[in-house]
Amino acid sequence: MTPARLLLALVPAALLAALVMLALAALHSPALIRHYPVLLALNIAGIALLSGVMVYGAWRLALHLRARRPGARLTLRMLTAFGALALAPLVVVYFFSVQFVNRGIDSWFDVRIEEALNKASLLRRNTLEALRRDLVEQAAADAAALAQTPLSPDAATVRLLDDLRRAGDYEELAVFTPGGDVVAASGARGGALIPVAPASAVLAALGGGGRGHAELEPGGDGGLQWRVAVTVNQAPAASPAAALYVLQAVKVLPLRYATLGAGIQTALAEYERLVFLRRPLKFSFVVTLTVITLMTVLLAAWLALMFARRLAAPLGQLATGQRAVAKGDYRTRLTVTSGDDLGALVQSFNEMTGQLRQAQNQAEQSRRESEMQRTYLETVMAHLSSAVLVLDRDFNVHTYNKAARAMLPLGPACQGRALNALVADEPHLAPLAQAITAPRRDAEWQSEVPLAGGGGRRVLICRCTRLPPESGLPGGYVAVLDDVTDLIRSQRDAAWGEVARRLAHEIKNPLTPIRLSAERMRQKFLPQLEEPGRGAMDRATRTIVQQVESMKRMVDAFSGYAQPMRMQTAPVDLNQLIRDVMALHEPPAGKIKTALELAADLPRPEVDPGRMRQVFNNLMINALDALGGRDRAAVTVRTKVVRRGGAEYVEALVHDNGPGFPAGILDRLFEPYVTTKDKGTGLGLAIVKRIVEEHDGVIAAENPPAGGALVRILLPLR
């Protein structure tokens, strides 16, 4: 038991004990009556203590009610019920008890008893008065006898007094001077004691002419005795000076009178005593009753408050626990304070929260595992060189990895947006969107997607897979994109290198012996031949040598195209480079008009100036060749900065107003050996395209609606 609980048990017990002792003291218990005031003070202190406790409890309850604390209203209701149940009977009992005490005590004092006692007392007084008169007369007679004899403190006087005492049955007989001095005395007990003189007032009264005085007084053995004093007027024969003495006689009241009188007096005295004590007695009883009632009421109220609190506590706990559970805190454990229904309810709540906590722990464990799995996947995806793009069934972007962000590129705003909607903002993504969103029946498909992204022209291999229903994104798609630009380029370079090597080996090598053989034939046989054989030999050998030379140039040109380029890039003023090239191809005045629309402050792209000069040189040659012999022929070169896919490019346009590219070769224009010129190698535009692509640039040709041919070059700004 905790000290607080012990105190809570001891205080009511102590107060109850004090209450019981007060009640016993009020009933005049001999052991407790002496401590009545202390017990009353203790009980009043207990009332004050309980009142304080109740006021405090009520204040706390009011606070709890205001704060809408769980269980507060139930506590109030139970307290009210208990209080009413305890208070009403107590008040009724108290009221009737007070009435009973008052009327009961009043009933003790019957008018007839008082009257009888008064009459008995009057009778006694009359009897005593008669006795008193007789005694005074007897004493006066004795005084008259003494008056005949001279009185002096001698043996004769004492003998006379002895005779008179015995004759009158006195207890004591003594003669005093008017001043109270003893003259002579005779006592029934041998005269060992000095007789007590009459009171001075008695002596004074007798000296003033009084005949005698008698009064009843308590006797030595507890009885009553008369004390009678009369004057002794000394006869002249006895005393010439006519001396005055006082005779005092003490006579015990006869036992029958004393007993009768004492009984009456005792009864009357007791009656008067009770009458006097009536009001204090009522007060004592009422105060005791009030204190007991108050203490009982307060004790009952306190116990009711405690009981109500104990009863409501589990409900309050339950409400608090319920709120905690509602907030997701399943660790709440309530203390089971009783084994009753409420205790079972609390136990059930604890079991419920335990199960919820277990479920929560399992869910938390699953979530943690999922989180770990997700983190693992994110880490793997983040470190993949392939771009991964996850789309839902409506082709909205669900997730994508770091490589996708860099490769496409994609910003954070694209999350959740439809792929086709992204194309509106990022047109370079159109081929990708088309490759992914094209209607398919297969669960997996693959396509090559060219993309002009931030890093220039890219070729991506897009592998799409439809997500299974249990994937968490049913009907969605996952697209894995691999940038194969470098791979294709190196494969192409390798292929063209092999072609060049074979051409050099299989074609170029035989050319020299062919040419040497033709020249030897010419040298050896031309002088020996006559006309017309001589002319034929001459034309034939010359043709052989010319064609061999032409073939050798063609093979050299192809080798130059096929061999890997060694780029020496540097920031180049592209406008100035274009001006230099245009100066080389300045046509005759008035035949072809050239125009330059070059952007001011054009950034300097990182390019190989020699190669780039070759690009614009080839383009100008082609344009001028295409415009040959046309009226108002014009070539315009423009430069500006454009943005594509979040990156900046320098755009260079070469536009002529010639017949345009033949429609049949427009899509193959940049392939080797595609040409419309009679003497062209067919490698000019192919070399241009290769140089541009070696710079990670993009080249395109088109016939604009306004007419002519247009070649567009995009060079990335790094």
Binding site: V196, E217, T290
Partner: protein, 203 residues
């Protein structure tokens, strides 16, 4: 509830009593005791006098404390005594009896102790005390001199120390009948007591 009940019971409580007064104190060390005698004014309230008339014994107490005076500290108590004087009416004779009890045998009225019985008349010894024809006479007799011989447990250094007697006269409620006791505690008519007065103890 208590207040209401008390108001019902004591609406007509008699007027408050006059206070007792200690007029004079004579005390002298005699060997191992102090001969003590006090002159008092002991006016009883009407209710207390009525109680005596109705046969209820009323005991007056004279509380005496012997203190040794100290300059820098509280006075030290050396002894405490109480002299009691019981007043009651002898109903059969109609006289008022006074019995004095003290630590060394009390006395009053300049007479010797009434151990031998009461005296009748105006201060006469009769039985175990003294009896008087009227209450006023009894009170006057008590007031003329209420004395006792107070035994000492230690010898006093009268030459070197200063001593004083603190005296207070009260009604001893504990000696009243039980029903009257609580009433006496709360009723103003029973609040009769003197102020505590100090009297030097001469060598």
């Amino acid at each position: 509830m208590v207040t209401a009940a008390v108001m019902v019971i004591i609406p007509a409580a008699p007027a408050a009593a006059r206070d007792f007064r200690i007029v004079d104190v004579a005390a002298a060390v005699d060997g191992a005791a102090i001969d003590f005698r006090a002159v008092l004014e002991l006016p009883l309230s009407e209710e207390a006098a009525e109680a005596v008339d109705k046969g209820i014994a009323v005991t007056l107490g004279l509380n005496i404390d012997l203190l040794r005076e100290r300059e820098w500290w509280w006075d030290k108590g050396l002894g405490t005594w109480q002299v009691r004087a019981e007043l009651r009416r002898h109903r059969p004779s109609g006289r008022y009896l006074v019995r004095v009890d003290g630590p060394g045998g009390g006395g009053s009225g300049g007479l010797d102790s009434g151990n031998g019985g009461f005296t009748s008349g105006n201060g006469e010894a009769t039985g175990n005390g003294r009896s008087f024809p009227s209450l006023d006479a009894a009170l006057e007799h008590l007031g003329r001199g209420l004395g006792a011989r107070l035994p000492l447990t230690e010898s006093l250094q009268l030459r070197r120390e200063r001593y004083r007697l603190k005296v207070k006269a009260v009604v001893l409620f504990d000696m009243l009948p039980a029903p009257l006791r609580l009433w006496a505690y709360v009723a103003p008519s029973w609040r009769m007591a003197s102020r505590a007065s100090s009297w030097p103890l001469a060598p």
